[in-house]
Amino acid sequence: EAGVAQSPRYKIIEKRQSVAFWCNPISGHATLYWYQQILGQGPKLLIQFQNNGVVDDSQLPKDRFSAERLKGVDSTLKIQPAKLEDSAVYLCASSPLGGRGTDTQYFGPGTRLTVL
């Protein structure tokens, strides 16, 4: 079974530029998550999708971050414009059961973003 795919793996941009990340979840997983992980910290949830609908985006900085999952499969996360403090690893995860109980999240390799 193929895992969660993410691209690119690394990205370096200058502040005020825009950047987009792509994620393809495990086949059949209805729930998709985007996390931000600052070096040395645990992941912080940015947004959660159930199929193509948003379940929770309360921690997404909506003035600069946006995400979509138009067909309920793959997803893109965009930052525009980027700030220095956006330097982090952006992790995508998916889970089969809607996030409840013992539902397990499976993570992609992440995209390491450096903002100069």
């Binding site: 040395g40 645990g42 992941p43 992790l91 995860a93 996030g99 409840r100």
Partner: protein, 113 residues
């Protein structure tokens, strides 16, 4: 609100010795607990999860976790450490109101030859 604590920033163990990475939690209702491992420049990999009434949970790569309700702990263990076990380990608990995972700060495990 649910919370999880990993009291040790780093744990050092000699290869071949048993290892323990500690996790304590605070939760209302049934606890749904998880352990993940993160190798350098890699995403998080699922190791194991707590399923109700199963106090010793076995997971991937020879790891197991011991659930202790009275001590509200879910410590990760392995009988004999390998150098390749060196990584960052995260404990997480599921929030019962919105089902999000609440993550610990992580524990860096270093296994010395």
């Amino acid at each position: 609100a649910q919370s999880v604590a990993q009291p040790e920033d780093q744990v050092n163990v000699a290869e071949g010795n048993p290892l323990t990475v500690k996790c304590t939690y605070s939760v209302s209702g049934n606890p749904y607990l998880f352990w993940y491992v993160q190798y350098p420049n890699r995403g998080l990999q699922f190791l194991l999860k707590y399923i109700t009434w199963d106090n010793l949970v076995k997971g991937s790569y020879g790891f197991e976790a011991e659930f202790n309700k009275s001590q509200t702990s879910f410590h990760l263990k392995k009988p004999s450490a390998l150098v390749s076990d060196s990584a960052l380990y995260f404990c997480a608990v599921r929030e019962n109101s919105n089902y999000q995972l609440i993550w610990g700060a992580g524990t860096k495990l270093i296994i010395k030859p």
